[in-house]
């Protein structure tokens, strides 16, 4: 693996590995921001083609943050955020012994959460979802957004706070 690290991004295998590791995250990242799947797909495409064009200049360990930066800059102030539509993994099937009331309550809560998520500012929603869905650490999100870990914690805190306020109707 160490030898692999030394290899250039121009090497097909290194490039493919970076793609496998990063493409889904980039897609999600842009989707959380703008709620537009087509744009998110385009961003992945654009970022990786740019990476290939500049493969000689980008060190393998810098490839990820290069990709995030390209994807991020692509739609900077260009498109308006749409409604983010997220699915829920069907956990209810495993818990069929739950009462119908509980299931209904659960579904109501999901709806509230959906609405509350779409009401969040773009940067709070992106941070929250990257952490909750993609399991990204605060440090990783900070790298993607180009801000400090402290700033990400602040966003996360504010996101939770306003989600709760929205849901509880405060």
């Amino acid at each position: 693996m160490k030898a692999d690290q030394q290899l250039n991004v121009c090497e097909e295998q290194v490039y493919k590995r970076v793609f496998n590791e990063t493409s889904k995250t980039i897609f999600n990242y842009i989707y959380y921001k703008f709620g537009n799947e087509a744009k998110a797909n385009d961003a992945v495409q654009e970022a990786f083609v740019k990476l290939w064009e500049n493969c000689a200049k980008v060190a393998p360990e810098k490839a990820k943050s290069y990709l995030y930066t390209v994807a991020n800059n692509l739609y900077l102030n260009v498109i308006k955020a749409e409604k983010v539509r997220l699915k829920y993994a069907d956990a209810t099937i495993k818990t069929t012994n739950e009462s119908p009331e509980f299931i209904m309550e659960e579904n109501q809560f999901k709806e509230k959460l959906d609405n509350a998520l779409n009401g969040l500012p773009e940067n709070q929603r992106t941070t929250f979802l990257l952490n909750r869905i993609d399991g990204k650490k605060y440090a990783e999100i900070a790298e993607m957004e180009g801000v400090s870990v402290k700033a990400i914690e602040k966003r996360m805190h504010l996101a939770l706070k306003s989600l709760r306020e929205q849901i509880d109707g405060i």
Binding site: R85, Y88, A89, I152, E153
Partner: protein, 303 residues
């Protein structure tokens, strides 16, 4: 509670005391629900293979494109450098003075931008700025030249010995080592030597040898004799005459046992060397010897 405790809680970073306190708050229940519910969220489908294929395609297209473009880009780079060099050298050269030189035994006729005429005698140099010509008619002269100046603004001839200023006239200027002669054939010429200005009316010539300035009469409305292939002198030290002979015929002139400071009045042909040598030697009663392009003047042996 510490800053951003909700973020810390989500990350399991709260201390036990903090966690206990947080659990007591009425908002805790909702927060816990948000945590659980959001853990089951899923992002939209992302077709990784399809994305890879389309990137792979673009990649190869880009590659060939780059391959075609790069030699052209290189060429463009070189072309740009050449263009810049050409442009800058053009601007540099256009600010330089226009210059004309004549060698031994050579005359040149030059027409200045305002149609004034200059005829350069042998071994002379004339320079002027074509760009600034409209602002000031200014020429630099080394050697000898005859000027036929078109009427207009002040016309200045700069030499190492002095300045000649006119408005529109015909005159001759000659500068050789320590020798400065201005002859005015028409109009009025102003000659400034070492800050001292002398007005020179038509038919006069001003001669300065080693700083001694004398005014001489010459013909009115004429032209300098060298234009008609003749060099004439009026009480000029012999060595200047010999220098002129050397210039006109491109020969090496030397003198032996002769007082070259003696004054010479007369003229010699600029076409026929043999005749010219006789024109000089006979009146001075000296002899000459011509060997190839070397001329030796020597004293006639006492009879």
């Amino acid at each position: 509670m510490q800053d951003n405790y909700l973020a810390k809680w989500l990350n399991d970073e709260l201390t036990e005391a903090e966690l206990a306190e947080f659990k007591k708050s009425e908002a805790y229940e909702t927060y816990q629900k948000i945590k659980d519910s959001s853990a089951r969220l899923e992002s939209p489908e992302f077709d990784m293979d399809k994305a890879w294929q389309s990137i792979d395609q673009t990649k190869t297209v880009e590659e060939t494109k780059v391959f075609i473009l790069s030699p052209f880009k290189k060429f463009l780079r070189v072309a740009a450098v050449i263009a810049v060099l050409l442009a800058s050298s053009f601007f540099y050269l256009s600010t330089l003075n226009e210059s004309f030189t004549t060698e031994y035994a050579e005359n040149k006729s030059i027409t200045l931008p305002d149609a004034s005429e200059v005829i350069l005698n042998a071994e002379s140099e004339l320079a002027f700025s074509e760009k600034k010509w409209d602002a000031n008619r200014n020429v630099d002269l080394k050697g000898e030249a005859y000027f036929k100046v078109a009427k207009g603004k002040k016309f200045t001839v700069e030499t190492s010995e002095g300045l000649v200023t006119v408005l529109g006239t015909q005159f001759n200027v000659e500068t050789r080592d320590d020798y400065f002669e201005v002859t005015c054939f028409e109009g009025l010429v102003s000659v400034t030597i070492n800050g001292k200005e002398t007005k020179l009316p038509a038919g006069n010539s001003l001669l300065s040898i080693n700083g001694n300035t004398t005014m001489l009469k010459t013909t009115l409305n004429g032209t300098p004799s060298w234009l008609s292939q003749e060099s004439s002198f009026k009480s000029i030290p012999l060595h200047y005459v010999l220098d002129e002979l050397q210039r006109q015929f491109n020969v090496e002139v030397s003198a032996k046992d002769i007082d070259t400071a003696q004054l010479f009045t007369g003229s010699f042909s600029n076409k026929n060397l043999d005749l010219a040598l006789k024109s000089i030697s006979v009146p001075l009663q000296i002899k000459f010897n011509l060997d190839g392009n070397k001329v030796l003047f020597y004293a006639e042996e006492a009879p």
